[in-house]
Every structure is written in C-alpha cells, then in structure tokens.
Symmetry: C2
Subunit: 458 residues, 2 copies
C-alpha cells in the first residue's frame, strides 16, 4: 500500500502541457512537490511539459515504475492496464471515470481491468477517484491545482478516506485553510474496484502518525472485515464515518455516483456503533468531530456535561441538545456548590446550567469566568464543559490564561458556543483558540462533538 | 398592547447615571432614540442624568405615564406596583428579576404584584425580562448598551418573542449585524407573570408590518388559546418556534430560569405541527428559517427538491438530509432531461442530483450554471433547488445575472451549501446574496430551511 503514498517512481499517463486539464495538475503537483521518487509524464501526443521529457508510452520508460497513475479516457484504460501488467507494474491508480457508475459499457471495462489485475497479482486503486496524498512526503496525486502546497499541507494526526473525489479535495482544502487539523494521509478511493476502505484502514493501522481516521463512504465493502479492523483499532485510533445513502434517494444517487450498492442503513448503523465508530451525518460534523479528536483531551467515558452560560435560555436548549446526543447535565457536587456560592448573588444559588450572567454583572467577565470555570472543571461529576458565550466588545477583554491553566490541569474537554455581536466573533474565537477551546456557531455542534469524544473514550 | 411599543410617555424607575448599570441603559436608549413620547427617569437618589432632571418617585412625575418600566431590586417591586396603581397607571414592564424563578420569596412577591394588577385592571409585562422593541419607532427598552441603534436597527417583516432576555438581545444583535432580516417588534417576555406569548401574537396579528414571528419559548402558556391564534394566522403570518425543555434536563433548567413548567414535549410537538407552526431545535435554525421566510419565495407546497452539485458525494448526503426533514429528490421530467442532455457529456446522462462537475470542466462555471439552473428551475416537478458549490478563486468569477433572472422568473426558492477554499467563501457568499440565495456551511441547514418553507406553504 506504501506504493500509493511514497513510491520510488511514478508514471503519470495522460500528463499534458494543457494547464486547464487534470492530467497537467497530477503531473505538475508531483513534479513540483514530491522529492522521494522520480516522476515520469507519459503521453503519445507531446514531447515535453515545461521542459520535462514526455514518454510516448509506459513501455518507453527508462525503468519499471513502482506506481502508474492513469488519467486518460475510460476506453483506453483496459489496454493500458495490460501494458502495465506486461511490464511487471504491480500498482496502478486509475483516476479516470467511466466505469461501473455509467452502467453496462463501464461494467465491461471494469471487468476487463480486474481480469488483468487478478491474473498478474496487481493491485488497482480507483477508478473514478482523485488519488492519494501523503502530507509528510508531499506526495499529492489529485488532478486539481494545488498552489502553495508546501505552505498549506500541514502534517498532523488525521487521515481521510473518501469515496468522493471532490469531497476529499474540497474537504481537504477547507480543513487546511481553516487550520482545523494537520493531515497524515488522504485516500480518495472512488469506485474501489479493488482497493477499498478495509485495505486503507489496515495500512493506516500500522502508521503511527495517524491517530484519527475520518471517512466518507457510500457503501461499506466487506462489512465483516470492516467491522473486525474497526474493532481492532478501538482504543488505538479513532474512526469517524459519514456514510451517504441513509435514505432511498441517497442510495439511488450513490449507485450512479460510484456504482455503490449502499445497503440497508439499519444494519450499518448498529454495526458501526458496536465497532466503536463515530457516525456523523454532515460534512461539517466530520470536520468538527475530527478537530475535537485531534486537539481535545478525552473525558473519562462519562456523559456528564457542565454548562457555563450567560443565557438561561441557551442553557435550556443546550440541555435538550445534549440529551439528543445521549449526554446529560452533570450533577454538581455539594463541594462545588459550596465553592461557587460566595461568587453568586444570594437570589441565584449555583446549579448546572451554571448561569454566570449575574456574577459577570457584579464582578466583570474576567473574575466571573476565571473563578467559575476552574471550580466547575475540578468537580469529579463533570466530564466536560460547554461555555455559552455572548460575543461583544467586552468579551474581547477576557484574559484567557487562568482558564487555559484549569483546562490543562483537569484535562477535561471544553468547547464553546458563540452568539451575539458578529464583529466580536473573530477576536473572541481567536482568544478561545489560544486556550484550545473550539468555538461553534451552532449549539448542536457542541453537543455533537462532545458525544463523539465520549463515544471514543468509552 | 401598543403602550409597550409606542407609549406617549414612559417612566423608567431605577434610572441611574452609573453607566455600567442596566438602569442607565434603559433610560439612555429611550432618551436617545425614542421620539414619539416623553421619557422620565425616576430614582430617589439622583437629581439628574446627563443633564436631564430625575424624579424622586412616580408620584412626583408631572403626568401619569402611559408605561412604567421597573428596574429596581425585587423587594421594592410590589410597593412600586401599588404606587403605580394608585396613580392610575395601566401598563407596567418589570425588567427586574427575583420572582418565581428564585422559589418561595419570589413567588410571594409575584402574588403580591398580581393581586394589585388584577384589582386595578392593569397589565404587567415580565418580570425577569429585557423588555420590548419597536424598530420602526426606535422604541428600545432592553437594559443593554445599544450604540448606533439608529444605524443598526433596520425595520423589516420579522417580529421576535423570547422568554429569555439574553437570547432576545444577543439574537437581535446577531440578526442585525449579520444583515439577516429586518425587524418589526421584539418582545422579551421573561416570566410572563401576566402578559404572555398569546397576548403578543394576538397583538402582532393586527400589525401588518409583521409577516413572520420567531419565538423562543420555555413553556406554552394557555395551550389551547396559543394553538387557536396560531391556526388563525395560518396562511397570513408564519410562526417559527424554538421551544426549550424538550428533555428532562432542559425542563428542570427552565424551572429555575423563568419558573416555567415546560410540560411533556410529545403533546407540544404534535399540537404545534397541527397548528402549522415550524418547530426548530437550535438558535441558528431559528435565524436561518426566519431569514428564508423573510426573503425567499415559497414553493407550491411540494417537497420535491433539485440538487445542483459539483460533488456526487455531496449530492448523496444532501439527499439523505432532505429525507430526514421530510423532503425528497424531484423526478425531473423527460423534457428537462432532454434539455439538459446536450450540455452533459455522453457518459453522464443528466439526472437528479444534477452533477455539473463534468459540464463545468467542459464549458466553465458560467456556462454550466447559467444553462443548468434555469432548465432545472423551470421543471414543473421541481419545487425548490439546492446548489452545492465548491468555493475557489474560479467560483468567484461566476456571473450571477442569468441565475437571478431564472429565480425571479420561476419564483422558486434556491439555497446554497458551500465548501472548499475558505478565502473564497466571503466573495462567493456575496455573489449568491446578490441573487437572493442564502449560503450555509452546514448542508443540513439547507434541508432544514427548505422544510420550513414547505411547511408554511402547505
């Protein structure tokens, strides 16, 4: 599997000097950024790309490439696979589309390819995909422009497996630009004619740089093996899945997208939960849960959440959303109540949700948050906390230091929901970021993320 | 009820020159912005606020005020209500807290107040609330600083009723700063000791400037009357409710927030649906649905959605999310398929989700979107559309004109989901905004909003 992420040599068939074509970008990205192997452009119609010699065919290459990437019209692919087989090539990545997802003629093509692959002990990745990425090696095979890759591709603990190329690419861009988390590997596996998510997960199981695996899948190939490998990773690596095709409409769409039979969702859902896989339903949830897993400490498996809020109404809605995700309001200990009481006005005895508005009015935002947050986090009944914050020019004056210390000391995850004065959103978010507290504009995301952390830690 | 929004005279008891106190802000906001009535500060401890004479008591005022606002410690309130009653004042707004929500002593106070109110044919608003706003009249009674109110308070079709003061205020700020929609009235009704949401809705029923009523409620007082008035507004005004206390934890929190008995949620849920009220579960949903109702045309009651997408995976997940909200993928007519076919590559016959990626590669973003969107919107089987867009410097070059025309011609709602390159989010969002297309970063919000429009139009 390593050949798809750090090959000693890679041939790009369909490389072209035409800069609006995907074939240019695959070659150009590899030639520009990848330094651990030789990159060969292959195309019978051109002599050179930006001064690099182009080879007429795979057979014309000066060596047998460890990996061949195919980006040519679908009807040329079976012949190219045969040529690769004859040369003894063992690993091929087909980024071209036009296979099972287009019906009968594509199915014939797919069968021809797989016959050659099986007879020659080859492995094939794709088709209908955007390839593979290894961030640490700057190996980037997707057929998209990737300017400044060396600046934006930050190595980190998250690997991504996606059955949708655009999702893998767009998602990756958003994650990198947004500073969500660093990346280890990205695998856009498309129709997964041969190599599938089970192969990739098994490979990532041995990659110590990957702590978290985020997946977008349309069907789960080899269900039993998927669950076995998922279960074997439990406690070692975190798996998060967005599975398309939960509905009849989604399943029909999946069939024409990647030729996937998505299967009944009830079975999938139960199995994933048993195997300790976190299930999400939207792309932004995949990003948010991924970031939380990459950056936050884990609660001790408990579901008891403290809400620290400037709004009573927000606290109530948050309690409802926590309940939707199987979490609940922590019962604060008598000790905590006793420690909080002197800070609170007499007419509002402290309880959870911890409404700090009166304390803020009395003592200001710094004294309120700096005194309340450590006391709440130190409560043995509290597994995690949500801060419901009102953004205003006043909130920008918060000194985050003591809160950071309390989080570091107690090692409990704290997330935040923000509402109010929009111009204060960015400065307040940056402030929270310094304390390692992610900020959401949807209260439901705070509950969603804590539920994900809880599930992984259980 | 008009006395709470455009009184000919208003007295603020608890007005103070201390600029960090709420009592200063209530007086200052009214004195600065409200021009349709006289504003009197009342406080025995001061002679003047910023040069305006302060009256020692309600009895010392030169006239009987149409409205009295009380912002003094809870234990002074029963006496002040008696004084107001003696003077013949009929409308009082109690912003002060310390009533039912604090238990026994507060309940005694509430009973004393209500006794006086009933015996003197008065109506009381609050307590434990942030008052009332009439945007067109620049009447703004909340106890919060409101700099530049005359610039930010944009009149519009949406009125807000909220049982949580901070929510009403923070929510209002966010809505105004974010340019979501203009406001008619805001009613933060707190404990609703006397005046409740039914009174406010009945009043707003006669206010032609209000087309949409957004509510945050913790309990529904007078359930039958609420449903009667909601039903009577069906087809005339749109009602959207976020109801706190769906869960046991939420209900307990509601009791200590506004002293509300939230009641079983199953009953509430069924009744709201019957009365044509849109139910949402998060604050951002309340804002998004409110904006959609304020700005988008309504579908014909149908649930058939076209997805126009650059990502197959996104289309599948969108289909699942539509299904979650009771919507479905539209079956495109043969005519539409025939009109789309020449634009699509032969290997990808058009269907819904309409995957425009290959067309974009072939013809560029402008030709792709400008040809596909009008054809899809003109389909009689399509009630509304979601554009799933990939943000990139290329997407910024989109000429939105022809899309705007198609939307105006077909009068069908179009919303958009955006992912990809974050620096392109803002320019692309502004582009979409010019065509009247709201942009969400959560795909689920697109489905949520269309479901709200559908429910109202049914």
């Amino acid at each position: 599997m390593k050949s798809f992420f750090t090959p000693a040599s890679v041939a790009v068939v369909g490389a072209t000097p035409n800069k609006i074509k995907g074939g240019f970008h695959i070659f150009n990205n590899l030639a520009t950024y990848y330094k651990k192997g030789t990159v060969y452009p292959v195309n019978p119609n051109y002599d050179a790309i930006d001064g690099t010699k182009v080879y007429r065919s795979l057979s014309a290459l000066p060596e047998r490439p460890e990996l061949v990437i195919l980006f040519t019209p679908a009807d040329t692919i079976p012949g190219l696979i045969e040529e690769a087989a004859r040369l003894g090539v063992k690993r091929v990545q087909i980024q071209a589309a036009g296979f099972t997802e287009v019906g009968a003629p594509g199915i014939v093509r797919a069968e021809a390819v797989m016959k050659t692959v099986r007879e020659n002990d080859m492995r094939v990745w794709g088709p209908n995909c955007t390839g593979s990425v290894s961030a640490r090696d700057f190996f980037f095979s997707p057929f998209m422009p990737a300017p400044d890759l060396h600046k934006v591709l930050i190595p980190g603990p998250v690997s991504i497996i996606a059955q949708s190329g655009m999702m893998a690419g767009g998602f990756l861009l958003q994650v990198l630009d947004g500073g969500y988390f660093g990346i280890d590997k990205v695998a856009a596996i498309g129709n997964k004619m041969d190599i599938d998510e089970v192969d990739i997960i098994r490979y990532l199981a041995g990659e110590s740089d990957t702590r978290i695996i985020l997946m977008y899948l349309e069907g789960i190939a080899r269900g039993r093996e998927f669950l076995d490998v998922a279960r074997s990773l439990s406690g070692k690596k975190s798996l998060v899945v967005l599975k398309g095709g939960r509905s009849a409409g989604g399943r029909t769409a999946a069939l024409s997208h990647t030729g996937t039979m998505a299967g009944s969702d009830d079975v999938v859902s139960g199995a994933l939960a048993q195997a300790g896989v976190v299930r999400v339903n939207d792309f932004i949830e995949l990003i948010n849960v991924g970031k939380a897993l990459a950056t936050l400490p884990y609660p001790r498996g408990g579901a008891n959440i403290a809400l620290i809020t400037v709004t009573g109404g927000g606290g109530i809605v948050a309690a409802d959303l926590l309940n939707d995700f199987g979490l609940k309001l922590a019962n604060l200990t008598e000790t905590t109540i006793g420690r909080l009481a002197p800070i609170f006005p007499a007419w509002m005895p402290p309880k959870n949700p911890v409404d700090i508005w009166p304390t803020m009015e009395l003592r200001g935002i710094n004294e309120a948050l700096q005194s309340v947050i450590p006391i709440v986090l130190e409560d043995e009944n509290v597994d995690a906390a949500v801060i419901l914050a009102f953004a205003s020019p006043i909130s920008e004056r918060l000194d985050i230091g003591p809160i950071t210390s309390a989080i570091e000391k107690t090692k409990k995850p704290v997330v935040s929901w923000l509402f109010g004065y929009i111009p204060s959103f960015e400065p307040f978010t940056n402030l929270m970021r310094r304390a390692g507290i992610p900020v959401y504009l949807e209260l439901s995301q705070a509950a969603r993320v804590l539920a994900g952390l809880k599930q992984i830690a259980t």
